[in-house]
């Protein structure tokens, strides 16, 4: 909650975040180890929450990634540039919405 508030404040103060490149973002997502906890398509699992579809806004995303003190370790600029972060966000935004579980018979047993 604390970080969501910080993120919201930052979002208001820095509305013009750079748009990223989804293709580059996929590469960065894999190279920087995001897939390790969140899966290669950001689907989430036991080790990390689902990031896609519909990731949180870039500004909030950035604050969380830079300052996480929970289960996720922080990624500071020294190891993940702002440009890479924006690209990763663009990749997550590009991931299409999942099917409705009611349309998947295996999930209705």
């Amino acid at each position: 909650m604390r970080y969501l508030l910080i993120a919201a404040a930052l979002a208001l103060s820095n509305p013009a975040a750079a748009a990223g490149n989804a293709e580059k973002g996929k590469t960065a997502f894999l190279q920087h180890g995001c897939w390790q906890c969140h899966g290669t398509v950001g689907q989430g699992g036991a080790a990390g929450k689902a990031l896609a579809p519909k990731p949180m806004p870039l500004e909030a995303f950035s604050v969380f990634v830079r300052h996480s003190n929970g289960p996720m370790p922080p990624y500071q600029k020294a190891i993940l540039s702002d440009a890479d972060l924006a690209d990763i966000h663009a990749y997550l935004q590009s991931i299409p919405a999942a099917k409705d579980y009611k349309s998947i018979p295996l999930l209705n047993q």
């Binding site: 180890g33 390790q36 899966g39 689907q43 080790a47 999942a98 409705d100 579980y101 295996l106």
Partner: protein
């Protein structure tokens, strides 16, 4: 050839006789060797001595014997009702081996050939969880026991009895020179004493009989745990002295310790009067009956149950199963009853794994905490599997399952109409929460449903789709598949879910799954194993054991091509230190990936007699492959699908 004499003489007696009267026999090989042309020794194995083999042995040299000590030892082992004995063959128990297959006709127990002692013991671990009684394991002295240690530690941590017999020759003059000395120890059981419940080194056959029965009784008395008996080599191989009277004691029916009646009554009172009681079950249910009774208690109280998944304690779809909301329930509870908890502290506290590690108790200050479990009845010091000390108000040292009927009766006596009305409202809310959690979990499972590598949710649910009409049993789930099995499969019966390794020693999954599949085979059940890649590489030889002994199993690989837990640990430390993790061409940090080259597990399994297919990377191909594999397993053959999966 001279007639062999059936003389009852011990090895000591034989050698003494040979020293006095058989000098010629001993001298002959030396003389023959002296006449052999000098050839540089290349082979350490002694060359055959033709003269010694063709000459008539001296009349006093005893070449055969009647009933040996190991025959009686097998009688003892048979008296305990073992159906199987798993072992990698080894000379230190050759007497027992020969007695089992010839004198004992290789039945009850039947010899299961294993390629590693870790496999033998881990098979026993899985076997017990289905069969409810231990597997017998023979292991080589010293080196074999060293191999067995990891599996014994897992069994110890998981409170599973395994009955281990090792060979060892205490009398120095009886040991063959060289290797037998390397494989002998003064205190052979010392290496595993920290994680076995009891061991003994019997000095006579009668001593063996008594200790073998004692060991079984101790192993099966809660808290259940592995035991070990050392079968001395001389005792195994010496003939039974004529006229020696031996008796095998009867094995008692073991009654587990039940909780103090006053403490049980106090617990019932607290639970009945609580606004928000919570039950947490860890290694509580040893049997279906135990699980049924927990359902009964929970339904009387209409209270949340948190199942830590160490066993199937409560059906996963039961509306009172609130395992997905554990923290929320614990933090608002006014009474918490832990059942056979091995890490109660972790349920009542949070811990942050940061640069500076911190923890916080989440239980309300005025909440009453109770523990009912047998762990306090037997504990050792060295290995820290007893976990952090947990502050509770009442600790009942007794077997949870055995005490449950008394607790239920005590609760029933206290519940009145007013309570029932309150409980009903509580239960309705919990049922609604349970359903909401299930719907949310189903939604979560849709994310990445069509991804390649295949999502672990899809892996699990495609597998369920293929076996749902059968009497299935998940015999192991190694690695981590984000708990989809526990969250989405309808785990209703005790045999549907067997828990995990106990000590978290990787390498448990494959052999334990085969042990459980063996027990399931005899019960006509279908065994499913979600097999991780890293785990399989510890003891892949168990694949051969399964094929050799016709133990059917469906192994669906969770092949994420990594030691994934370590992938995340190293990434975490890299981030804490502001360093980019060194991948060196792999997908994860150096030293954590199982790729480049990728292991073809399907070929590995095929080479050992399994039906196998893979690698399956397209989720659309998984369902058809599973249906094909199920048919193979139903025909009695083990089958493995090598499936490339998402990390978790």
């Amino acid at each position: 050839m001279s007639k062999q004499k059936d003389v009852k003489v011990g090895r000591r007696g034989f050698l003494k006789g040979a020293g006095l009267a058989g000098a010629a026999a001993l001298a002959a090989p030396l003389k023959a060797a002296a006449q052999t042309p000098a050839v540089p020794a290349r082979n350490p194995v002694p060359l055959p001595n033709k003269a010694a083999e063709t000459q008539v042995p001296p009349a006093l040299e005893v070449l055969t014997e009647g009933k040996s000590g190991s025959d009686f030892m097998i009688d003892c082992i048979k008296s305990l009702g073992f159906e199987y004995m798993a072992a990698n063959p080894a000379s230190s128990f050759r007497g027992l081996h020969e007695s089992l297959i010839n004198y004992g006709k290789n039945t009850s127990p039947e010899f299961l050939t294993c390629s590693h002692e870790e496999i033998s013991v881990a098979m026993g671990h899985g076997y017990y969880k289905i069969e409810g009684k231990p597997l017998c394991v023979f292991a080589h002295g010293t080196v074999g026991l060293h191999h067995a240690t990891m599996a014994l530690y897992n069994a110890w941590c998981d409170r599973v009895p395994v009955y281990v017999v090792i060979g060892n020759t205490m009398d120095a003059q009886m040991r063959r020179p060289g290797i037998e000395w390397n494989h002998t120890a003064q205190d052979a059981a010392a290496i595993v004493r920290d994680y076995t419940k009891w061991d003994d080194y019997p000095a006579s056959l009668q001593h063996f009989a008594e200790s073998s029965v004692r060991a079984y009784k101790i192993a099966m008395t809660p808290p259940t745990a592995p035991v070990l008996i050392v079968a001395d080599g001389s005792l195994q191989e010496d003939p039974i002295p004529e006229g020696l009277k031996l008796r095998i004691p009867k094995l008692p029916q073991v009654a587990a310790p039940q909780g103090d009646s006053g403490a049980v009554a106090e617990t019932a009172k607290l639970l009945v009067n609580a606004e928000n009681p919570v039950l947490i079950a860890d290694r509580y249910a040893r049997t279906q009956s135990g699980a049924n009774r927990l359902v009964e208690l929970a339904e009387i109280l209409q209270c949340p149950v948190i199942d830590t998944s160490s066993r199937l304690n409560l059906p996963s779809r039961h509306p009172l199963n609130q395992s997905g909301r554990a923290r929320a329930h614990v933090s608002r509870a006014d009474v918490i009853l832990g059942l056979e908890m091995t890490d109660y502290w972790n349920s009542l506290n949070t811990f942050r794994d940061q640069v500076h590690r911190t923890s916080e108790r989440i239980v309300r200050d005025n909440a009453k905490t109770i523990h009912l479990g047998s762990g306090d009845l037997y504990i050792k010091s060295n290995y820290q599997d007893f976990q952090r000390f947990t502050e509770v108000d009442l600790a009942i040292a007794a077997d949870g399952e055995t005490t449950m009927p008394a607790l239920i009766e005590a609760v029933k006596k206290l519940v009145d109409a007013g309570n029932k009305s309150k409980y009903e409202a509580r239960g309705k809310k919990l049922a609604a929460d349970h359903m909401a959690d299930l719907q949310r979990t189903r939604l979560d499972a849709t994310h990445g449903w069509d991804a390649s590598p295949i999502s672990t949710a899809r892996l699990c649910m495609e597998t369920f789709g293929a076996v749902k009409g059968l009497d299935w049993s998940i015999v192991s789930q190694s690695g981590n598949v984000s708990n989809w099995l526990n969250r989405l499969w309808p785990l209703e019966q005790h045999h549907h879910w067997l828990g995990r390794s106990g000590g978290y020693g990787v390498g448990y999954g494959a052999p334990a799954s085969v042990g459980a599949s063996l027990a399931n085979r005899d019960l006509g059940r279908f065994s499913v194993n979600i097999q991780s890649d890293g785990d399989l590489m510890y003891a892949p030889g168990v694949l051969w054991t399964a094929a050799k002994h016709k133990i059917p199993q469906l192994a669906v690989m969770h092949n994420n091509r990594a030691y994934h837990q370590e992938v995340m640990h190293v990434q975490r430390l890299s981030n804490f230190r502001n360093r980019v993790a060194n991948l060196s061409g792999d997908m994860g940090p150096v030293g954590t990936m199982i790729q480049n080259p990728d292991i073809e597990y399907h070929k590995l399994a095929e080479s050992m007699g399994w039906w196998a297919k893979g690698p399956i990377k397209d989720p659309a191909q998984l369902g058809p492959a599973l249906r094909e594999a199920v048919k193979v397993v139903q025909s009695g053959q083990p089958a493995l699908l090598n499936v490339w999966t998402q990390p978790r």
